[in-house]
Amino acid sequence: MLRFRQARPSSAPAVVLAGGALAAVWSCAVSARAASFTPEGALLFEPNAVVVLDFEEPAPEGEPQPAEDPTALHGAHILPLGAFQGVDFEVSLPKLRQTYRASAWIRGHEAVVSLEVSYSDRPDEVSALFPTGRVTSDGWVEVANTHLRVDGEKATKVVLGAFSAAGADVDAVEIVPDGDASAFPAIPNAPCGGASDSAACAADQVCLYSRCRTFSGLVPPIPKDRDDVTDYLESRMTLLFGPFRERTYDLPNSLVAIEQMRHAQDAWSYWNGFALAVRKLHDGHTSTSNIADFSLRNPRPIGVCFIEGDADLTHTAAPKDPAYLDVLVSHTGAESTLGLAPGDRLVSVDGKHPIAWARGLVDIHWSLPPVSNPRTFAELASSMNRLLSRYASKIEVIRCDAASGTCGAPEVISISDLPPIALDATVQIPTCDNRPLRHLINSPDDHGNTAVNGVHQSIVIESDDVEKIYGIEWESLYTTNGTDGVGAGLKQAVSTWKTEGARGVILDHRSGFGGTIEAPKILWSYAVPRRPNDYYEDRQRAEDEQPSAEDGQALFDLAKSRNQINYAGSNNPVTTVPVALLLTEDVSASDWLPLGMKGAPKVRLFAPFETNGAFSTRYAFGYWLGVNYVLAVGDTFLPDGTTTNGTGVSPDVVVLPKQSDLLAGKDTVYEAALAWVRSELAP
């Protein structure tokens, strides 16, 4: 932890002013609660500041060192941060319950400046600083945030951090009281019973990790030009968001959230309204995030991975939900498992079906995994362990016994009452890859991906070098030229199948993170006779609406005539070797992969449900890491002229993971694929 001089500002300013000006400027600054400038442009720390940092003393060895700079805002030094460099200042605040304005001046490039307050052994609340609009003629930009609550009596640590991705100078940091205890809820960080217990927290708080945490500091203040900013953000969605189906069915819901922004009374409600509007677009490429995703650490990690399936052993004890699939334990890590094991069932979360509960988090959870297809929820199931840690109070489970093949009665586990792990404890959480079991000789036990080229490959462990059923397990489809990223790995796999005479192939892409079209092309070329596949088009006009299939077909044909469409396959595919493609969770290029594979002579898609249907690409935008959003910008036309974003690829064989199989150590989807491949083996 880097410590710099923290001083009362009365001793800090090194500028000489005439008395009258001094009094006026300072009295003004007092009411505005921020550093001010002399008429000559020298910075004066606010007299009531409780923390000032001007970097006039050397830093400890190994930390970024202050540098003398004639354009320093205060004193003679600044703190230069190199690219990708960060620094922390632990500061001491009064033992009072009050609010603060925290500010810093930066120069050069954007820097993330944050204030973290710990009430336990880890950061409990985080705030980010945003540009105030004050800039100086010599390049300094003020970043600040106001009314940041700190219960000084209880705070164990307060850290002001700065990080710059491109390099930035920092100077004139100060923290000034700007409000008293009246700004606090009755209990500042009250215990709460999960996200469903909204009544426990104040309007600008969210129940996170079983405590009410103030979120207003995560976002900028409400803009002074609120109407213009709101209109501008609304038009990002109405004018620029690409997918047609979502614009028809989901955009109206987004605009309701935008309207809420116009009347929001606090910063969190305002910016959460925008983020909610983005998430309500319900698109696999369209998402939001903020600094909390990076900095608030999970005190109760859960080493359990869940998957949607068929709880065939326990429907008597807990009936199947009419709308959602059952949620089962797919696999677990070695610790923090809640005593759960593969085949156990997650029946409910805070009284709701787990998927219904997770969907309800859209109102508050900025990094909720997005999906285009309104009928699939694989992303929520695979991230369920993290969601439970963050937002659940009580879960209801059914434990089963693998030896006897029997299951017990529903049992309640309190997530809120789990003891937090030590800050320095390392818990190995398995990767939730929608694969109950891995089937290649070098697949890692934690379900991660350790392949040098991103593609695990071998003869599957259930086969041998006579039967020659080869498999690959991989997640990314990112390659820019067919050789970087996973390009080389996929090409190597295809080459092996050809040279070694594979008699069957199993492509296990049950976690597909997308990438580029170049990667699917490698696999299409192996198994698919060449055919026109699709035409992706960025949104063209502000007025565009969902085209008819007839208009879409005309557009497709025009694009085809211009050689702008995607073809799947090659002129010399291998059509004697059965290829099974296993799917569960996908986005973007991982949607395109099955789109191009489907219908080929010796290809079968095995999955529990349709794919994500995220047939677009996206652009990402960030406002000083406080408000980040990603927007899908186009849609994809099929040869029949229909648009396909929001409509996933249907599996050829619908297979639900079965509770009875999981309990018996079987991987239902894989077993179905393996059986089919064996029935179709090439000679």
């Binding site: 008429p39 442009g41 540009p131 609009g133 600040a144 900013v229 990438g515 973007s588 690409t617 960030g622």
Partner: protein, 275 residues
């Protein structure tokens, strides 16, 4: 856009307002209450005895930190660069040549024309702003660039025709030389542009170029009025045609789905915040 010079002396003359209880994040009073004193350096703080006025070190001004949001209907994804982020792997501008989604870190501060972010282009570098066109209205295009000791025409601003390859539209400079503030403005009313917008801003000067405050809008009134003539410009030079073609080729190459893995900036930030 909100941009006003604001020597701090002004704070003195309007102290009652500046000291109001309004909960402002910045302590600078509303600029609408101030007179423009950008050029004033006589602060009058010399005090009694006629001491010489102190040297002004810097001036301070107040801007909207969200940039030019008055153009609420800007058809570009982010014409003012305020939403650019070092953590965005795919932003609403291309940068090159060679063109890619790798966008340089934004320049921040008073160097920008509006808001607090803009982009600085080294010589022979360009940006391509991405947006949508209008199927019903002419579009107005305005862009601002601040060259170092160069004429405005040394910057090529043009709408690149990607759909038909038939015709680019050059957006001419409003004046030959930069204005008093150093900025060149490029502006045109384009009669019809019913296709995706790729607005090229190409630095053909010999030094750095700052680009900011770029707006493409559907013209008010839609297509109800008489169709305006296209902007009159000289044909582009062969060199510029070549550079535009390179940009056009890159756009074709970069279209389509791209979801890259986490970038180094995100990983570094994650490491810093989970320290």
């Amino acid at each position: 856009m909100m941009r006003h010079g604001l020597p701090l002396l002004l704070a003195l003359s309007v102290a009652p307002l500046a000291c109001s209880s309004e909960e402002l994040i910045d302590p600078v009073p509303s600029t609408s209450t101030l007179t423009d004193t950008t050029s004033s350096t006589d602060t009058g703080t010399g005090g009694e005895g006629g001491a010489p006025p102190a040297k002004v070190i810097r001036t301070v001004e107040q801007r909207s930190p969200f940039g030019n949001v008055a153009a609420t209907d800007n058809l570009l994804f982010d014409g003012d660069f305020e939403w650019s982020s070092p953590f965005s792997d795919q932003y609403g501008w291309f940068y090159g040549p060679p063109y890619s989604y790798s966008f340089p870190a934004a320049t921040i501060g008073a160097a920008c024309r509006s808001g607090v972010k803009c982009v600085t282009l080294p010589k022979n570098k360009a940006v391509i702003g991405i947006g949508v066109g209008s199927g019903e209205s002419p579009v107005t295009v305005t862009a601002h660039a601040r060259p170092e000791n160069a004429a405005c025409e040394d910057v090529d601003v043009s709408l690149l025709d990607i759909a038909t390859f038939a015709k680019d539209v050059t957006i001419p400079a409003v004046s030959e030389a930069p204005g008093a503030d150093g900025w060149c403005e490029y502006s045109a009313l384009v009669p019809a542009y019913p296709q995706r917008v790729y607005l090229l801003i190409d630095n053909n000067t010999a030094k750095d170029l700052v680009v900011d405050d770029v707006v493409v809008r559907a013209a008010p009134g839609g297509g109800s009025g008489p169709t305006p003539p296209p902007p009159v410009t000289a044909p582009p030079t062969a060199e510029r045609v070549g550079r535009r073609d390179a940009a056009r080729e890159a756009i074709s190459r970069l279209r389509g789905p791209i979801v890259p893995p986490n970038d180094p900036a995100k990983r570094a930030l994650q490491e810093h915040l989970s320290r």
